[in-house]
Symmetry: C2
Subunit: 687 residues, 2 copies
């Protein structure tokens, strides 16, 4: 049995559990009060006065619908969450929204609620700790030693994303990860018998986890503490603690699935309070002894942080370089002058696939930005994401790498990868990327929206970004994906057209601390454009080829820009005046002044967009759109482009049609950018 | 040991295996030749002359990148796939694209390639067989008895979607499902040691599967046959056969990960052919004995189909009603007059949430459309998808339902659910739906795009469709989802505004045999609109309120339509002439004539859209857009609408601004629908 040194339970602990239960009844009933109390008051290292302390233990509520419980604990522990905040549960603009949101409520590490995400983020947080420890800890100076604890329910365990992340956690032997499973046998649809009869414990053992049990999770505080201590002390494997609980314990509906997510009725709350020794007429009551327990825990954490800071100060004397690195990284500052390493290109330079251009950027910046970490979902050789000299992040015993390694082998697990990457970013001090084909970023959609909603600096490196991948065919060719990512608030979808634009995409992605990016990169070679530059592309859109009194403006992105440039040449030979603009990132372009946007997309001539994706969304910038309204096709990529007529000829013939259509109308032509309702008058604020 | 009656191997079988190997080398090398040969030539019931025979065994290649192998087998067996088609592998418009596509190549059951999908489709196909058997088989008349066989690799096993579907398959005790795992220890990134060290067999046992082994899958035909026979005869559980193979067996790169997906070099192909006793100089060679084996297998299948047809004819005499049901269903015809059951509404009728309106439709049509089957990802009580009198599809031993049940308890497994539903639709004779919150349709994005690409009639019932869900907050409120689904080719995204529009959405969804639908439904109550009808809404967009010489046209969808109607009232009180149009489905509206579209969105006045989603994509129809450019918020839903100013006041004030902006311009206003490049001149064909 693991040591329980220093862990003792008194009547005040039972009172604390009952307080949490009755408070929970005042908001919404949930069943994990005992384990939450034991963990927060006896195990978790945290300082409520400095919720960002680097080496705090991380607590993740993967079953985020139970957030009332988490808010109660944060309140008891003395985070910036008052009793009034608890009373404002689920009210507009409150600190206590219906699911926990990081970057919104003090003490919330990651945004949870969409099931399976939190436990997968926890894998990322555990990876980050292991990596930071392996990188910075020195003999006698263990700066990064924290644990990651996650609560989860049946729903999280059924989701594929958690299967992916848990399998990888087992492979990586993450001994710093402790997951506590609320095994209450109830889901919204009823008893788990209706759909979830698998042997969860055997499955987790198969993943390489240790599995522990607490049979009376409703009441046995000592058994709970014993299991947590054992898990904490097991550094060779992640641990799943299976905690048998009763949903709605103490309520009249105890054990029934109608407790799931719906508040208790008034008379039930009253009998529950009576049962747990509370005044049934009073609401939101916390006995002083309970606050005492939590403040003691907080004080202990503050003391630990003070000791830790002392160690850090000593570390500074002995390892000044490493120390300043730690500080710099957690402040989110990149190393001075890093951007000078970004490759630049001239028109004469060789044509290169943008996935290869991306590899060049990684090779250039990875050595000077050591916080850049990442990997691929089993497409390393295709995504070209493993920079020269990279070391794999692997358990040392594997002989394949070690925990100081910065390159991840995620396996064929796109959704798990992205949720893990979110967790790594949430840890701090690291800028993570995940890589796959653009089409399979969709597999990770659940996690991608959380990158954006949670304001996390993560990069999705997404190669093979269109029909230009050729032979693999429509199952692998994204058509709808760009529209999805462009419609996602706070997501930068970059589709660079050449080397300078690729460098610009990385420049903005790496320096946007609260915005994730998706970089759509070509399989096929792209020429270096006349007129591109990092500076211009960094505005999200710019004029590539100007013309006075133009007949038409052609706009495009990525691999179609050089095709449009060729089409423009054809049109000029026919006497037309043609402007060409490149719009590598809508999100960034939309942040430019209206004046600037009008200079790129001016009045006076029709604007036609060209892109080998669904045309959906392009009318925001263009009078006319040309692209796909169908799925792609399998074949050599030039043949595929021909099939869909996205060729200089196909574009030029449509452009001529557009020019004569608007000439025939004869009216003044206004830029689509000039609107009565601009973004600034719409509700444009970021979350 | 299971019976191998009738299964004998001769030298011709070894020749067949070698033929497949050498043919595979001519296209792209893959390692499952022996098991493919044994399965196709000795076990699979199929009739290449009637590839749609209802009771054929289904074969699914979940590792779709190995499709050269599947094409070779289809060719040998006599499907409509010539040697020239094989030579055209991965060429544009060939019958042999880079991944297998149903509805394109004879004998391909489902479109695979995106990893994890095929095995999950296979679970759906197995469910469909179990259901059809339980529904139609009678004593002495076993019409639906087929098995489903799936090949899969490490990649499929790592994907969360397959974890979800496999867990459910175990729960459902699908004894008719046999999965054969190509355990070659190699993925694209190298040895599986780098990321996939879990105990797959223990995991599948934990799911409730039987696990069998073949240790020399490269050569031991008898052991392979024994395992398949044993799996076939085990009707109590799904079976995973773990087949140890060597990637690139026989090539110089045998066992190396660089064989994965890339063709062999010419000299390697030559040595391989020599090694297997073939002329190294000849390509695409099939000895006559090999064709003989396969034609014999095909003939045996044809004989079985003939016997089956005789049984069906006898069945017709004894069970005429059931017989005509079977025929009707497999022809994809709905029962005569079913549409009369669709609820209709008048303006005076009570306000009802569209999820509840959807429930009313299901209650009305489920009894008369017995092929309608479906269920929810653990949100039955919220999605309101379980119609009155529904029986659960469950293993009979569970006591919770039986295989004739039409309602599925998918568990919290959105991606698995949608892939399973695709498989059910692919079986034929069934129209399946899956249900979850709209936001979590994104979790299933990988399968959703395959519903559309594969031309499958499946319905995604997607409730809680906006910020209108209120308290659950931004983690559950879709903002970007509509844009994604509207940009997806061949996907109908319906967002009905009231009862008549909800009935219209179902009417079109159920009668579109080659197009999936997503129905976005509100949590909150919606009034019955003046001016809506099933007929009008069935056009995808229509005029709700007309006005002569209008100052503005307001367009909207779903729960925002009644808010827009109120805004229009306000504007009229201020003397403005306002038109209102409802556009419940872009995909369907875009199929109407230009004349009709111009009648809904006419020239002459500015058009402004209102929707509680990202405005992205609305410029296709509107000069001005009003909606979200941010994430939602947690709170009572009316407060959330107020926060984002999507209220009659907020809309009216913007509309006034729009009217004066365009009046000030003074130029003629053209409808955005009137374009030089209309859909018919773009590449608009469906796949």
């Amino acid at each position: 049995m693991a040591s329980l040194k220093g862990v003792q339970f008194t009547d005040a602990d039972q009172l604390a559990v009952n307080t949490i239960r009755t408070l929970a009844a005042d908001v919404v009933a949930k069943g994990m009060a005992p384990v939450a109390h034991v963990l927060f008051s006896k195990f978790l290292n945290f300082n409520p006065k400095d919720s960002k302390w680097f080496n705090r233990d991380r607590f993740i509520l993967s079953n985020g619908h139970a957030c009332a419980l988490q808010y109660i604990l944060l309140h008891l522990a003395g985070y910036k969450l008052s009793m009034d905040d608890l009373k404002n549960f689920r009210q507009i603009d409150s600190l206590t929204p219906g699911h926990p949101e990081n970057d919104h409520t003090d003490g919330i590490e990651v945004t949870t609620g969409p099931l399976g995400q939190g436990i997968s983020n926890a894998v990322g947080l555990a990876i980050a700790q292991a990596h930071m420890g392996a990188t910075f800890n020195k003999d006698g100076y263990n700066l990064f030693t924290n644990k990651t604890y996650a609560f989860l329910g049946d729903g999280c365990l059924q989701e594929g994303v958690s299967s992916e992340a848990s399998s990888l956690a087992g492979h990586l032997q993450l001994g710093n990860l402790i997951a506590i499973y609320d095994d209450n046998k109830i889901t919204i649809d009823g008893n788990t018998d209706v759909s979830f009869t698998e042997d969860v414990e055997a499955r987790y053992r198969a993943y390489g986890w240790e599995v522990l049990h607490v049979t009376s999770g409703d009441s046995d505080l000592t058994a709970i503490a014993g299991a947590i201590a054992e898990a904490r002390d097991n550094n060779s494997k992640p641990t799943l603690i299976v905690l048998r609980t009763t949903i709605g314990y103490g309520s009249l509906k105890e054990g029934g699935h109608d407790v799931h997510g719906s508040p208790l009725k008034a008379d039930d709350i009253k009998q529950l309070k009576t049962r747990f020794g509370f005044d049934p007429e009073k609401t939101f009551v916390v006995p002083e002894e309970v606050y005492d327990i939590y403040h003691k825990a907080g004080d202990a954490g503050a003391k630990k942080e003070a000791e830790w800071k002392k160690t850090l100060e000593e570390y500074k004397g002995k390892y000044p370089k490493e120390h300043s690195e730690i500080v710099r990284r957690f402040e989110g500052r990149l190393p001075e002058g890093w951007e000078k390493a970004l490759p630049t290109f001239k028109p004469g330079d060789a044509a290169v696939a943008s996935r290869k251009l991306s590899e060049n950027v990684l090779n250039a910046v990875a050595p000077i930005i050591p916080e850049l970490v990442g990997g691929s979902a089993d497409l390393t050789g295709s995504n070209l994401t493993r920079w020269k000299g990279a070391v794999d992040f692997q358990p040392p015993s594997s002989g394949l790498g070690d925990y100081s390694g910065r390159y991840f082998r995620f396996g064929v697990r796109e959704h798990g990868m992205t949720a893990i990457v979110n967790g790594i970013a949430a840890y701090g001090g690291l800028i993570p990327f995940g890589a796959t084909f653009l089409n399979f970023v969709s597999y990770a959609a659940g996690a991608v929206r959380l990158s954006a909603l949670s304001n996390l600096r993560v990069l999705n490196i997404a190669t093979h970004d269109s029909i230009g991948l050729g032979e693999d065919g429509p199952t692998h060719q994204p058509v709808e994906t760009a529209a999805w990512l462009r419609a996602t608030p706070n997501m930068m979808f970059w589709r660079p057209a050449d080397g300078n634009e690729t460098s610009a995409a990385y420049a903005i992605a790496l320096t946007s601390p609260k915005t994730p990016s998706t970089l759509a990169l070509s399989r096929q070679n792209l020429p270096q454009l006349e007129g591109s530059s990092i500076e211009k592309a960094s505005k999200g859109g710019y004029v590539l080829e100007e013309a006075k009194d133009a007949d038409i403006t052609l706009i495009s992105t990525g691999s179609e820009v050089p095709i449009v440039v060729d089409a423009a040449k054809q049109l000029r030979e026919k006497g037309l005046k043609v402007r060409v603009s490149s719009i590598p990132c809508f999100e960034v372009f939309n942040q430019q002044s209206k004046e600037y946007r009008l200079s790129v997309l001016p009045h006076g001539a029709p604007i036609m967009s060209v892109e080998a994706y669904s045309t959906f969304g392009w009318h925001e910038y263009a009078h006319e759109t040309f692209g796909l309204r169908a799925w792609g096709a399998s074949g050599p990529y030039l043949k595929v482009y021909e099939k869909f007529e996205i060729t200089p000829n196909g574009i030029a013939s449509r452009a001529e049609k557009v020019v004569s259509f608007y000439k025939q109308r004869g009216d003044k032509i206004y830029s689509p950018v000039d609107k009565a309702i601009d973004f600034d008058t719409a509700i444009a604020s970021k979350h």
